[in-house]
């Protein structure tokens, strides 16, 4: 009896020992994988940034021909225009999907449509944009068409983040508000959307990050040239920086152009510097998204 007990005891000890060993091994594996991604990101970003700035000359930063300043401005302006279009529509559609859509065939179809839209190859969107925004309207390449094409890509992203953010809120917020005699619209506008704001803002910033890097969708919409005269502030002028109906080459297009056409001797350096600037922009936005989310959450007292 006693012997039996002790043997049971030791087999139990062995089992626990095995479990602990397995636990240590798996913990190690997870650290390794996490470390691998960290190293990959640092090596990748570091290489691009260092190489980009190492070959840079001062004139390359100019907001004129030969420099990439105008391309930098075009990138920011185009993403701004794209967000102006896709944020309101994306949030409204996310609210509709989360709060109003009744389960059924129409909703199911809409969901498939949104999912398909989000996995659309950007070159297809670019060609679609070329056909609809350029050919059909008899326009030249322009920033606005580029912004529309980028919105097509960012819309599903913003819509699904909004929907997910609203769905992940505790049901008690909605019940509390409706239980006081608020309408569903009042509840959404004054309770649910503010509560979901941190996640929606993150989604928007990540969508913006995607917009920065977009090239294929812009090839045939925003165009591959840029001509800004920084002394002209008449918005109707084709050389005014703020005119959305002028061609506007972005940084990613500049990289593509410089590496494929190589019209000047310093093309490689220009492409490297553009990559470095783009990399910094995307990193900044990513970090911004997370700090902003944390800030707002902290302000709302949500420590989750």
């Amino acid at each position: 009896m006693q012997q039996n007990n002790s043997s049971k005891h030791s087999s139990g000890d062995m089992r626990i020992g095995m479990a602990l060993a397995a636990d240590r091994v798996m913990t190690g594996v997870f650290y390794l994988v996490a470390g691998f991604f960290l190293v990959l990101l640092f090596a990748f970003a570091g290489y691009i940034i260092i190489k980009g700035f190492a070959g840079a000359k001062l004139y390359m930063f100019a907001f004129a021909k030969g420099g990439i300043g105008n391309q930098f401005f075009n990138t920011v302006y185009l993403v701004f225009l794209a967000l102006l279009i896709s944020v309101p529509i994306g949030i409204l559609s996310g609210v509709y999907m989360a709060e109003y859509a009744k389960p059924g065939r129409v909703t199911h179809f809409l969901r498939i449509a949104i999912e398909t839209l989000s996995s659309l190859p950007s070159i297809v969107v670019g060609l679609f944009g070329y056909l609809v925004f350029i050919v059909l309207t008899h326009a030249q390449w322009n920033l606005f068409s580029g912004a529309l094409a980028v919105s097509i890509l960012s819309l599903p992203l913003i819509s699904t983040t909004t929907e997910d953010a609203l769905r992940s809120l505790p049901e008690s917020y909605k019940k509390g508000s409706l239980g006081m005699g608020a309408t569903l619209r009042q509840t959404i506008v004054t309770v649910l959307l503010p509560a979901a704001a941190p996640r929606i803002i993150t989604g928007v910033i990540l969508a913006a990050g995607r917009g920065f890097g977009e090239a294929a969708a812009l090839l045939y919409t925003a165009g591959m040239s840029t001509d800004i005269n920084w002394t002209v502030w008449n918005i109707a002028s084709p050389t005014c920086a703020l005119n959305p109906f002028r061609p506007g080459e972005t940084l990613s297009l500049a990289i593509w152009g410089a590496r494929t056409e190589a019209l000047s001797a310093d093309s490689a350096e220009i492409a490297n510097l553009s990559s470095a600037v783009l990399m910094i922009m995307v990193l900044t936005f990513s970090i911004l998204a997370h700090t902003l989310e944390g800030r707002i959450k902290k302000k709302m007292g949500d420590t989750k």
């Binding site: 917020y173 019940k175 006081m180 005699g181 608020a182 004054t190 709302m300 007292g301």
Partner: protein
């Protein structure tokens, strides 16, 4: 907000009184004192019975189905004005479902079919009233404290704001009045503009009651309002409920039979979707007429 000092002093007195009340009610709990306490309750009840004739709610032959499940069966009950009505019974007996029919919160669920009538001051709430107007008159406090992720101030001002009150001075007055009414003004007046999620559970629940009071309802429905709280916070909520019944009609669902006994004027015992017995709380707890009620309150099942 200028009368803050005054309020503090008043509140200190209240807090001492509060502490005494808590000790008292704990003492009153023992078997001997229970009887004399009950007699006193009956006295109060009889006194008010002369005044109160018209029921706040009158429910007739209410049946509710969740799909094919018959959740409420032929419920007929009158809820008295300015009283506390407790709904007790084992889990799944339909008491919370019934509570939700009173302000149509079950409209939010799908597959609910209702027939029979629920009348508030004689008006059928399902046929002749819209849910929004009804819920402004019949507020609700939930099992889990559910303040919005906003500041304390914005939580209380929420109801008035959605009803169109924008003037700061008016809102200030409402916020102070409601927080004072639930007894947490002095505790949290220095952190009105900080997130309500940072308050303790008991404070959050009282804030939620204040938020409900801010829309000046006539009835407050409480769905197990203390089941997530510690004993001290529970006592505070109970004392608050007793105080609030002077101005409001309260219907409370509770799993805690001592709670029903302590605070309610009338008690309805639910079982499997039916009201087995509905009577004054004293009768239910001292001379239940139905065998099942007796078994339940003496803890033999449920």
């Amino acid at each position: 907000m200028k009368h803050a000092d005054n309020t503090v002093r008043k509140w200190d007195e209240y807090m001492i009184q509060d502490a005494i009340n808590i000790i008292d009610s704990q003492l009153a709990h023992s078997a001997e004192t229970n009887r004399s306490q009950s007699e006193e309750d009956t006295g109060i009840y009889n006194k008010s019975e002369n005044v109160i004739k018209i029921p706040k709610f009158s429910v007739n032959d209410l049946n509710l189905h969740y799909g094919s499940f018959h959740a409420l069966k032929d419920i007929s009950i009158n809820v008295d004005k300015n009283s506390i009505t407790a709904l007790i019974g084992p889990s799944g007996c339909g008491k919370s479902t019934f509570l939700k029919t009173l302000n149509r919160m079950n409209d939010l669920e799908t597959g609910v079919a209702i027939d029979g009538s629920v009348r508030l001051d004689g008006t059928d709430v399902y046929k002749d009233m819209n849910a929004i107007a009804l819920r402004q008159r019949v507020g609700m406090v939930f099992q889990q404290p559910n303040p919005f992720p906003k500041s304390v101030y914005d939580n209380v001002a929420y109801g008035p704001r959605i009803r169109g009150i924008k003037k700061r001075s008016e809102l200030n007055e409402i916020v102070e009045r409601c927080l004072t009414e639930v007894g947490i003004w002095s505790e949290i007046k220095d952190r009105l503009f900080k997130s309500a999620l940072g308050l303790s559970g008991g404070q959050q629940q009282r804030l939620c009651i204040a938020r409900t009071l801010a829309v000046a309802p006539e009835v407050i429905l409480m769905d197990e309002p203390t089941s997530a709280l510690d004993p001290i916070s529970t006592m505070k909520i109970e004392d608050l409920a007793m105080k609030l019944k002077e101005k409001y009609t309260i219907v409370i669902v509770t799993h805690n039979m001592q709670q029903a006994n302590r605070i309610s004027d009338k008690t309805a015992f639910f079982l499997l979707g039916e009201i087995i017995e509905y009577d004054t709380t004293n009768n239910i707890f001292l001379n239940p007429k139905n065998k099942k009620t007796e078994e339940y309150i003496s803890g033999r099942f449920g």
